[in-house]
Symmetry: C2
Subunit: 104 residues, 2 copies
């Protein structure tokens, strides 16, 4: 079972879209940040500050990434990257568990 | 902002009731375990193994605890304890963010 060790977790959840998307912030030993989150089905547009890698742990969605016209299908076990200062949209078809890693 | 430091987090979420209740398991430096979770509105019955303290970080629910006939109202900032090997039911009125600490 994959673990994040020697980390700090912010107790309070991050809550977006009336709770349809929620996450916990994890600060790693090297100072890098991740969020571990759950998305209920729905369509969600996010804006990035830092670049990030979205690792889908389980679930099913399509994503429209910056500069792409189409929608990319993503399932549990797959990942995608989003550049900094960008906008992207996810259409979540099934409850989705994710780990988002913010890049330095 | 309250933090849990020097902990291990299991990456994969715990998912209950078709995702209406989800949590992440945190293992503290002393070996004790907590879960940080989100409950969508609904009614949920849980069975405990270890005794636990449920700290409600935000949200609103009523709980029926073992040996109590009535329902107790609980809001963000409040906690309640559940004995080991017991059954309890929560009626979540508003999206609820919680920290559950399992007692040794």
């Amino acid at each position: 079972m994959s673990e994040l060790t020697q980390v700090t977790v912010i107790k309070t959840a991050n809550i977006y879209f009336d709770g349809l998307v929620t996450s916990r912030t994890v600060i790693c030993a090297d100072g890098s940040r991740k969020t571990l989150g759950i998305m209920q089905p729905g369509e969600f547009e996010f804006n990035t500050q830092a670049a990030e890698v979205m690792e889908i742990l389980s679930g099913e969605l399509t994503v429209q990434l910056p500069g792409e016209d189409g929608w990319r299908s993503v399932q549990g076990g797959e990942s995608f990257a989003v550049p900094a200062n960008a906008k992207f949209t996810m259409r979540v078809a099934r409850l989705t568990d994710y780990c988002c890693s913010f890049l330095p």
